[in-house]
Structure formats: structure tokens, C-alpha cells
């Protein structure tokens, strides 16, 4: 057995409009947001790498400047130590002249100049402090200078009590090591580093390996926290420039750039708040977000306008469709009536023919020589009664036809299918009689009502019963109409013992204009109209068929819950006539 059913329903137009707005907005916004996010992320990554690269380059350049500043000062001292006899270097006046030249040339970077003998005593001194005869024999820088030939000290307070550092070189004369030393002006050196400033929060400073500041930082720095603590503890590499992201003393995300100085004995540190370093990225992000918001609003506005326009067109199409549906139902109804017309004409014609014959018979009798004979009077009476009987029969037929030929009223009201079944079967009685079809009804007593248009459901029933009768070929068969309650549904089944529907046709049976009847005998609209009517009433229609066994059409309607008075079609018709 094969079957087919269809229960899809058209959506609510308001819902459809909402879906269009949401759909259009999503279509526009989703790619926009994704593209925007990807671009922004890409831009941020590129910009971050660019910023970090720039920081590295800048710090490297400055580390070279600082290194060369120190090396140049040491070279100056070395030149002086090598070029002049030790006796002249031991002359404070000579030293003063050289110091003055050097201060002029180097903008005061050299503070003083001194010669220390092998005993560690400064035997000649030129400079602002009174350091002649100062004993450096136990000073660390002196010992290092003698040991290493050249030496650059860390910044220390020393004998003068203010921060400074010393560049020193050793010259051996007659086996005795003499040390030429000079103090480098801390302010001049500090200015080299302090001038490294980017943005509002960037600042640089130098520390030594012991974590002592070699220049004074512009802002407070905690060297006991990462990343400085890690580098000082030797956990991070300090032999090349590193860019590290971390937090500053106040917990603000910051970017740390650290470069080695003096072969790694000092570290040039640069620190800047990340937000400050990436200010451009942030303003770019703000611009991108603003653009996205503007474009989104524009997209929403456009999708809203498009949807409103669509909604109007949908509403227009919907009302047009409603009119068309009504017209199609009406057409289908007329086609059904046309199909019945032959049978009904014959049905009317038979009683009319009898009436004409009876009237003619009365006429014949009246022309008798003795029209009032008892026999003739009795025959006339019988004929008159027969005319009345046949007249009543005509009236019944017109009632049945009128109940169907009435204009379709699409208003739904509570109806009981059993009433309609009786009416429709009455309407098809002539057709079944000549087709040798017997109609059997198996109707559930006290069947619950359904809510639908009585004329439309009548049409569904008539279509199904007509089709069932048409499906039965000679020598005849049976059409069974059943009504049942099935859960919350009221189910009507029309079963015939006809030829059955081939499986290939079953799927198309509810399609408009699909017909297997010869041209001119079927519109192909009947079942499609039935489908439309049943669907409108919230029901479903399905078909099961087996070749040479028969076909069953099953229609299920949701039962009507409510107290409204149940409509009986024939009652209304009789009242109106």
C-alpha cells in the first residue's frame, strides 16, 4: 500500500517580515563584524610588532650612543695617557689645561682629571674638588684599573659624596703603574638616558648587575619585580635586546625594553605603559568600532526599509491570494455542481415526465364520454395524488441542489461532520444509483464538532465522495464514509473499492490541475481545493491506495472546543427557503 499526505502550512506574514529584518541584518552585519574583527586583530598584531620593533631599534641605538659615549671618554683618557710624558701629566697646571680643552670639546662631560701613582696616591689633580694627595689605594676602581689597564666604574658617591663614575687607564713607566683617571659628569651622562622619551609615560634608566641605578629614573621603578628581578637574578637573557610585556609598579600593563651596555655589565632599561605605547592602535580601534556602528545602523535602517516594503508587497500578495483562493474554491464548487448536473437534471426530469404523463392521463379521461364515472374519478384522483408526490420529489431535489449551489461562505463555525455526510450522500444518490455504487456510512454517534466553513467542508466531502464513485467501474462497488474521534482530532475517511491510484500519481494527487480524467471531464482542481480548504481549517488530508483494492482519503480536523451553537446546514437552508 502506498500513501501520500501533505501538512505544510504557510507561515505567519508578520513572522516572515521579522525573519526578513533579522536575516538581512545578519547577512550584512555578520560578515562586517567578522571582517572588522579580523582586520582589527591583524592590525593590532602588526602594529604591536611594529611598536616593539621600533622600541628595540630605538633602545639599541641609544645603547650604542651610551656605550660609545663611555668608550669615547675612556679613549680620550687613553690618548692623554699615551701621548704625554708622565712627568708632564704629574703637573697640575698641565692637567688643568688639558681638562679645560676637553671640557670645551665635550661640553663639560669631564669633571676632573688626575694622575695616581703606583702607591694609589693622586699625585696631580685638576678639577673642582680638593682631591690632591687623595689615597685611592684601597678603592675598588683603582685596583680594577691597575689590574685591567683600562676601567670604567659604576656610578658611586665616592669621596665627594655625589653620584659620579670614573674612567681610568693605566700606564706603566719604569715598571711602576700610573693611573690616569677622570670623573665623568653625572648630569651629562644622565641627560643621555633621560632624554629617551616616547609618549607620556615612556622613560629610560641604567642599572648595573647588582640592581643599582646608574642614572636616576624619571618615575619610580621596582627592581625587585619582574621583569627586572628575573634579569638581575640571571633567569632571563640579558646579552641582547629583549622586549617584555608585564606590569609596572602600580599594576598597569607596561612594555619593558632592556638592552645590555658595557658588555653586559650595565643594562639600559626602557619602560612605557602599554596603553600609551599602543595609543594609535586604540584610536584606530575606536575609529573601527565607530565605523562598524555607523555601518551597522545604516544596514539596519536599509534592512528595515526593505522589509517594510516587502511586508507591504507580502500583504498585498496575501490579500490577492485570499481572493484567488476564494475564486478557485468557487470555481471548484461550480465544477462539482457541473459534474452533478447531469445526474440531477435526470433526477428532476423523471418526476417531471411522470407529472406530464399524469396530467395528460387526466386530460385523456376528461375527454371520455362519461368523464365522471366512478372509475374515471378514482383514476383522476390517483393521478392528481401522483402529481403531488412527484412535485414533492422535485422539491426535495431542488433543496439538495440549493444547499450546494449557495454562494461559498468562508466563515468558520462549529459543525458536525455527520450532518454534512448525510447531505452530500443525498446529493449523490442519483449518481450512485446509475453507477451501481452503494454508499455505506459508519458514523460515530455524538461526534464532536469541528470549526470550519460548512459550505467549504461540504465541498471537500462532495469532492471525495464524487471521486470515490468515479473510481468504481462496472459492475459497481462500495463507498464507505466513516467518522471517528481520534485523540484531539475528528477524522473522516472516504474509502472506495475502486481501481486504486498508481504510486506514480499518488505524490501529485493534491497538485493543482493534476487529473487522470479525460480532457474536459475533470478540472484537476478538486483535490487541490480540498487540500487548501482542509489546511485552512487547520486539518490534514492524506491518501492511501492499493491498485485494484481501492483508495482511502483520510481527513483529520482539530476538534472544536467551545460552547457555540452547532450549525446544521440543511436547517439553515430550509429556514431561508
Amino acid at each position: 500500500m502506498t500513501s501520500s499526505d501533505s501538512s505544510s502550512r504557510p507561515g505567519n506574514p508578520t513572522m516572515a517580515i521579522r525573519s526578513v529584518v533579522i536575516g538581512l541584518a545578519l547577512i550584512v552585519l555578520v560578515p562586517l563584524v567578522i571582517a572588522g574583527a579580523i582586520n582589527l586583530a591583524h592590525f593590532q598584531a602588526v602594529y604591536r610588532s611594529k611598536v616593539e620593533n621600533e622600541l628595540s631599534v630605538m633602545i639599541e641605538r641609544h645603547s650604542l650612543i651610551v656605550d660609545s659615549f663611555i668608550e669615547d671618554r675612556l679613549s680620550d683618557i687613553r690618548v692623554i695617557a699615551r701621548e704625554h710624558p708622565i712627568e708632564r701629566l704629574g703637573d697640575p697646571d698641565f692637567l688643568r689645561r688639558i681638562l679645560n680643552v676637553m671640557r670645551e670639546e665635550y661640553h663639560g662631560a669631564f669633571v676632573d682629571l688626575g694622575l695616581v701613582n703606583s702607591a694609589g696616591v693622586q699625585i696631580a689633580y685638576a678639577g673642582p674638588f680638593n682631591l690632591e694627595s687623595a689615597d685611592y689605594s684601597s678603592a675598588a676602581w683603582y685596583q680594577q684599573a691597575v689590574a685591567q689597564e683600562s676601567y670604567i666604574s659604576d656610578v658611586f658617591a665616592g669621596l665627594r659624596g655625589s653620584p659620579h663614575f670614573i674612567v681610568a687607564t693605566t700606564r706603566v713607566v719604569d715598571g711602576e703603574p700610573y693611573v690616569i683617571r677622570s670623573t665623568i659628569d653625572f648630569e651629562a651622562f644622565n641627560a643621555l638616558v633621560e632624554n629617551i622619551r616616547i609618549g607620556h609615560t615612556g622613560f629610560a634608566f641604567i642599572i648595573n648587575r647588582k640592581g643599582e641605578f646608574q642614572t636616576s629614573p624619571r618615575f619610580e621603578v621596582a627592581l625587585n619585580r619582574p621583569p627586572y628581578a628575573d634579569i638581575l637574578a640571571g633567569q632571563s637573557r640579558a646579552d641582547r635586546i629583549s622586549v617584555i610585556n608585564g606590569e609596572d609598579l602600580l599594576g598597569r600593563p607596561s612594555i619593558f625594553t632592556i638592552a645590555p651596555l658595557k658588555q653586559g655589565r650595565w643594562l639600559l632599561c626602557y619602560q612605557q605603559e602599554t596603553a600609551d605605547a599602543f595609543e594609535e592602535v586604540r584610536s584606530m580601534s575606536r575609529l573601527a568600532i565607530a565605523t562598524l556602528v555607523v555601518v551597522s545602523l545604516a544596514a539596519l535602517a536599509i534592512s528595515y526599509l526593505v522589509s517594510v516594503r516587502l511586508a507591504r508587497q507580502l500583504a498585498a500578495a496575501e490579500s490577492e491570494r485570499a481572493v484567488m483562493t476564494h475564486q478557485v474554491i468557487e470555481t471548484g464548487r461550480l465544477a462539482s455542481i457541473g459534474e452533478l448536473a447531469a445526474g440531477i437534471a435526470h433526477e428532476i426530469n423523471n418526476p417531471v415526465a411522470i407529472m406530464v404523463q399524469e396530467a395528460g392521463w387526466i386530460d385523456d379521461l376528461l375527454q371520455d364520454p362519461d368523464p365522471t364515472s366512478a372509475e374515471n374519478l378514482s383514476e383522476i384522483t390517483r393521478a392528481v395524488n401522483q402529481i403531488r408526490t412527484q412535485g414533492d420529489r422535485c422539491k426535495e431535489i431542488t433543496y439538495k441542489l440549493l444547499s450546494f449551489a449557495r454562494k461559498t461562505d468562508p466563515t468558520a463555525r462549529p459543525i458536525v461532520l455527520n450532518d454534512l455526510v448525510d447531505e452530500v450522500i443525498g446529493l449523490t444518490s442519483q449518481k450512485t444509483r446509475y453507477a451501481n455504487v452503494s454508499i455505506v456510512t459508519d458514523l460515530e454517534p455524538d461526534l464532536p464538532a469541528i470549526s470550519a466553513s460548512p459550505t467549504e467542508i461540504q465541498q471537500v466531502l462532495l469532492n471525495l465522495v464524487n471521486n470515490a464513485i468515479d473510481a468504481i467501474e462496472q459492475p459497481g462497488g462500495t463507498v464507505t464514509v466513516t467518522t471517528r474521534t481520534h485523540g484531539a482530532d475528528v477524522v473522516l475517511a472516504v474509502r472506495d473499492t475502486g481501481k486504486g491510484i498508481p504510486e506514480a500519481n499518488l505524490g501529485r494527487i493534491f497538485d493543482p490541475f493534476f487529473t487522470t480524467k479525460p480532457v474536459g471531464q475533470g478540472t484537476g482542481l478538486g483535490l487541490s481545493i480540498c487540500y487548501g480548504i482542509v489546511d485552512k481549517a487547520g486539518g490534514t488530508i492524506s491518501v492511501e491506495s492499493e491498485i485494484e483494492q481501492g483508495t482511502t482519503f483520510t481527513v483529520a480536523f482539530p476538534r472544536h472546543f467551545g460552547g457555540a451553537e452547532v450549525h446544521t446546514d440543511s436547517d439553515k437552508e430550509r429556514e431561508g427557503t
Binding site: V352, Q357, G360, N436
Partner: protein, 146 residues
């Protein structure tokens, strides 16, 4: 005027009954039945010779007018048939004439018109019978060598 013999066949019993009475009154020997099968039965066993014309309704349950006509013409070719039809079955009546019916009439029909057609049909049948008798006589005399 010949005295025709008519068999009325219609599924409406009351129609048959009254029509038979009216035909009787006009000197027609009329008989009525209400189905094709009954009509064929009535013509069995010499019924055909006593029946000139069958007035046959086209639309009947069971064996309809055209089927009855076919069977009747096959078994009793000389019996003339007048089809009775409503508007919707005129095509069937014309089809009937193609299959040998003498004429057709629309229901409800005027009895005088029916009488004319019945008489004409009966006359035709009688003429056919006369021609057959004549042909037989000629055949017999030819065999005798007259």
C-alpha cells in the same frame, strides 16, 4: 392507422404505468417493464413478433439503455426502438440511433409526438416484415422453378 404493439422500458414504474394506460386508450397494445433485463425477457418466446416498437429509457440502473438496445437488436433485429432521453443524455440517444434505434424523444414528451413516432416505427417494422415475407415467397417460387 395500424394497431401498433409497444413495450415501454423505464426504471420509473409510475411513468411506465401511466404511459401504458394512455397508449392503451389510444388503441395501442402497450406493455411496460422497469429494466433492460425485464424487456429482454418480455421479448422472449414469441414476444418479439407481438411487439413492434420498444420505447427505451437511456439512463437506467443496471443494464442501461444502450446495453439493452445492443442486446435487443442482436436478438430481435426487426423490433424498432425509440430512445427516451433527458437533456444530459442526448448524446447517448444519438449514439443509440447509430446503433440501430429508429428515433429518439426528449423527456418529458408529448404523447401525440410519441404516437406519431411509434406508428411510423411500427409501419417500418411491418414493411420490413412484409418485404421479408415477399422475399421468402420469391425464394420459394424460384426454387420451384416458376
Amino acid at each position: 392507422m395500424i394497431e401498433a404493439s409497444v413495450l415501454v422500458v423505464d426504471d420509473e414504474g409510475q411513468f411506465v404505468e401511466t404511459l401504458v394506460k394512455r397508449l392503451d386508450k389510444r388503441g395501442v397494445r402497450a406493455k411496460g417493464v422497469t429494466s433492460g433485463a425485464q424487456a429482454l425477457a418480455a421479448l422472449e418466446g414469441g414476444g418479439a413478433t407481438r411487439t413492434d416498437v420498444v420505447v427505451l429509457d437511456v439512463k437506467m440502473p443496471g443494464m442501461d439503455g444502450l446495453e439493452t438496445l445492443a442486446a435487443l437488436k442482436e436478438q430481435h433485429p426487426l423490433v424498432e426502438v425509440i430512445m427516451l432521453t433527458g437533456h444530459a443524455t442526448v448524446e447517448s440517444a444519438i449514439e443509440g440511433m447509430k446503433r440501430g434505434a429508429y428515433d429518439y424523444l426528449m423527456k418529458p414528451c408529448d404523447l401525440d409526438v410519441l404516437m406519431e413516432k411509434v406508428n411510423a416505427a411500427a409501419l417500418k417494422k411491418r414493411e420490413h416484415e412484409a418485404k421479408i415475407l415477399e422475399a421468402r415467397a420469391t425464394l420459394i417460387s424460384l426454387r420451384r422453378g416458376d
